[in-house]
Symmetry: C2
Subunit: 205 residues, 2 copies
Amino acid sequence: MPRPPSLRGPQKGAATRDAIVLAALALAEASGLEGLSIGVIAQQVGMSKSGVFAHFGSREDLQLAVLKAATDKFSAAVFQPALKLKRGLPRLRAVLENMIAFYQTLDRGCVILSASHEFDDQPGPVRDAVLAYLRQLRSELVRAARYAVDAGELDPTLDAEQFGFECFGIFLAAHHDLRTLRDADSAARARRAFARLIAHSTPKN
Amino acid sequence: MPRPPSLRGPQKGAATRDAIVLAALALAEASGLEGLSIGVIAQQVGMSKSGVFAHFGSREDLQLAVLKAATDKFSAAVFQPALKLKRGLPRLRAVLENMIAFYQTLDRGCVILSASHEFDDQPGPVRDAVLAYLRQLRSELVRAARYAVDAGELDPTLDAEQFGFECFGIFLAAHHDLRTLRDADSAARARRAFARLIAHSTPKN
DNA sequence: TTGAAATAAGTACGAACGTTCGATTATATT
DNA sequence: AATATAATCGAACGTTCGTACTTATTTCAA
């Protein structure tokens, strides 16, 4: 009798699919989502090209899977730990510090940031996904700032959107200095910039 | 008699070479230096692939030529006009404003910034050239800040390197908001961020 | 005007790419 | 153990890529 389709999903395939995505993520951190090559990935995981391909309907779906892995990794490293802290300045500080630490941890580039450059003029599902996550990331920063304002820890006249913009700029600069200029001091500079930004956003009295 | 080599350089070829580089630059602003394809460029300028190729010994040389065109364009728009102004805060402000305006002018992406992502893990002449220009760009910012300090327009205890870092972050954020998020307010945000940065770097009394 | 040099086109190649397809092996349920 | 399904393979397809050669055309100085 034919098994009722997809009541229990595939068993072994999910594991190898994860392995493929993991290898592809490592590859994408070095050469971006556009640099992903099914042949190279296959060679990396010891499979045939078609074997790898079968797990995704297309190269684009593979890119989407890798992007999801990258954003999950980012959220797990940056946002989830910060949720344990009290709303307001503590959590905000934790998010900022976690982002700095996250970039420092990466031995290669940030897939999300590369993708934002690769796809900013290339409409389609990948661009949509990149954009959605970047918007979410930004709004998390803004929300954290608003909490701190509400708690009286930051100036009530603070422009939270502007604050989020400047935070993000510091991250971009830190990533740039670390990855492109190979400057070992990038983390220290980012911390100093955040400290100044927060100090200047503190209530006047 | 053989013409004395390269006393007067090539005549007609230089013009078409310029046309090729110009078309390639437009293409690279949309898809990066890695996205450059000799075939597409040839089609764009109405030539054969081999005709285009003959002007450059290799694809890498073409990329270098396009990168040079991009950095020249940037310098001409950002730094050269600012040299007419007095050293110190006026010139610094002009550079910052010119950078904002430059990004706003581009109907597509910034080749230099894309290249910094594409080549940050890809050693070679292109990466070297990108890195050299980014370092120069950064040092120009730092130097402008130092002039302003020397003129007594900025706080003498200012960390000029840190100042340059934060300036660059604001640019990156502005470029990101404009190109990736398609946020029309990115220029205004950048100006506000610079205003704040300068205001907080002003001498105390 | 002539002839050499500069410039462009034409053709072809080997490699890599994403993708398709039929065949084959592994797995899991009855 | 039997069998339906999932998982993987191997080979091939059509494109596109950069590049190498050869041939034709244009340009410019003598």
